[in-house]
Symmetry: C2
Subunit: 245 residues, 2 copies
DNA sequence: AAATAATGTGTCTTTAGTACATATTTATTA
DNA sequence: TAATAAATATGTACTAAAGACACATTATTT
């Protein structure tokens, strides 16, 4: 925005306030969890006639008195009771006809939550988890939004220590590998995976063993506190350039 | 957005249309060019009193009848006469108080243009190029928007063949390297740079030589047609996962 | 006690990244 | 026109990361 936004000038006469402000903005949340060894996403049954039977993402209009980035936190809190979740803005979708109820531009976020760590009140809201790989069609343009967020998650998951938001505090390397396989949709070599994770230096060895597994238990690890913040290992300007020199 | 957007239901009574639609959406363009061996950005002098003397990005409100992604093309066309430019959406900024004239959420795009290839009508619009490295302060939150777009450009420039949008059709490897140095803000080793670029396979050897240089002329290259589309070399799902296995 | 099933680990090969030096070509200058 | 200056063009050795691949160990189960 610049001087073109002459809301206080003569232009306001010929371009009506209503005309320009007749666009709503919403947020849509692609809420991922890891359940039954699958990457799943939280959906709600659309109650619009046009989309009978179709599911849609959780979203809501942005309120005039809240920051854009606060809106998805509110949506998650309201609809699932969850707080303190990992959220990342991905893309804003704004085709004229993307929404049946009017002109609505939506900013998509993805969220990573640990299903075991949160008490969800899902059923009374008609909220359900759906394996990402089974989802074919969603209401509105939500399938494209889902695909975009999944792609972003896949791009980021090896670079930043974010996948751990989908796991409980303590986990084994097998669980971690299975999670990565679920996210990326491929099988991984155990030795190379462990080598790569070790190289990242993200993990703390807890000197504890798995319990309740019907086989030899593995060691338990947790994410080092230094890496619990969002994107702490983001490559710096210099090291990014360093790949060239 | 989902069933919460009950624009046709009872909710519309208690939540007024105006309340929710009282947010405007704009686009802001970070228009990069390469000039005088520097990465530069197109700015306009802000005419708002609050920002007297400060420059701002080019932007405008999104019109009710245009796609969000079309708006930055229109802005560029209107303000600079340029068409057919490289544009990429980066992030949407929506703090409550980010704009002095009201609640305006803005989606930021960056654009890469070849200054030699476009006739710009800049001066009569008070548009001017500014070296990115010299910019300290901009109106609104535009410095943050600029920094975000620059960071994104730096992340993408080695991965995708996009930097060529800043160069004329034909260029020498020296020019290309100087451009990369300007974008990344570091010096690069000539031999390693050429090796890396050669590995990408982006370039076509034109069997032509530079002219009008006061030294030994270098060979001229151009971007292979196959790579002229946006992000053609984007790594696939499989190869992204392949870094793990 | 034996069998099962998963854990835990190391090496070799290939590829990419990085540091580094010399010969060649053209324009300029003397 | 010969010498000089300045930039082009190119290759090798070293290091780091990626990728393919196999066997011994440990806890559970039978």
């Amino acid at each position: 925005m610049d001087k073109n936004l002459k809301l206080k000038t003569a232009e306001i006469e010929k371009i009506s306030h209503l005309e320009y402000f007749n666009i709503a903005i919403s947020v849509d949340c692609v809420i991922f969890c890891y359940k039954d060894k699958e990457l799943q996403v939280l959906l709600i049954k659309s109650d619009l006639e046009e989309f009978s039977g179709l599911y849609s993402l959780l979203g809501d209009l942005v309120r005039p008195d809240e920051d854009l980035d606060s809106a998805p936190y509110r949506v998650l809190k309201q609809r699932t009771g969850m707080d303190d979740v990992y959220l990342e803005q991905v893309h804003t979708f704004g085709s004229i006809d993307r929404h049946v109820s009017g002109r609505v531009i939506t900013t998509a976020y993805y969220s990573l939550i640990d299903i075991k760590h949160h008490k969800l009140n899902l059923d009374q809201n008609e909220l359900h988890w759906h394996p990402v790989k089974d989802i074919r069609k969603l209401a509105f343009d939500h399938k494209i939004i889902l695909d975009t967020c999944l792609q972003r998650l896949r791009e980021q998951v090896m670079e930043f220590p974010i996948a751990f938001n989908l796991l409980p505090e303590k986990f084994s390397l097998r669980e971690l590998q299975e999670l990565y396989e679920a996210i990326l949709g491929v099988e991984l070599d155990r030795r190379n995976f462990r080598k790569k994770i070790a190289l990242k230096g993200w993990l703390e060895d807890l000197d504890e063993m798995e319990a309740d597994v019907p086989h030899r238990p593995g060691k338990l690890y947790s994410l080092k506190p230094a890496h619990r913040k969002k994107k702490v290992s983001k490559r710096s300007k210099l090291s990014a350039a360093g790949t060239l020199s």
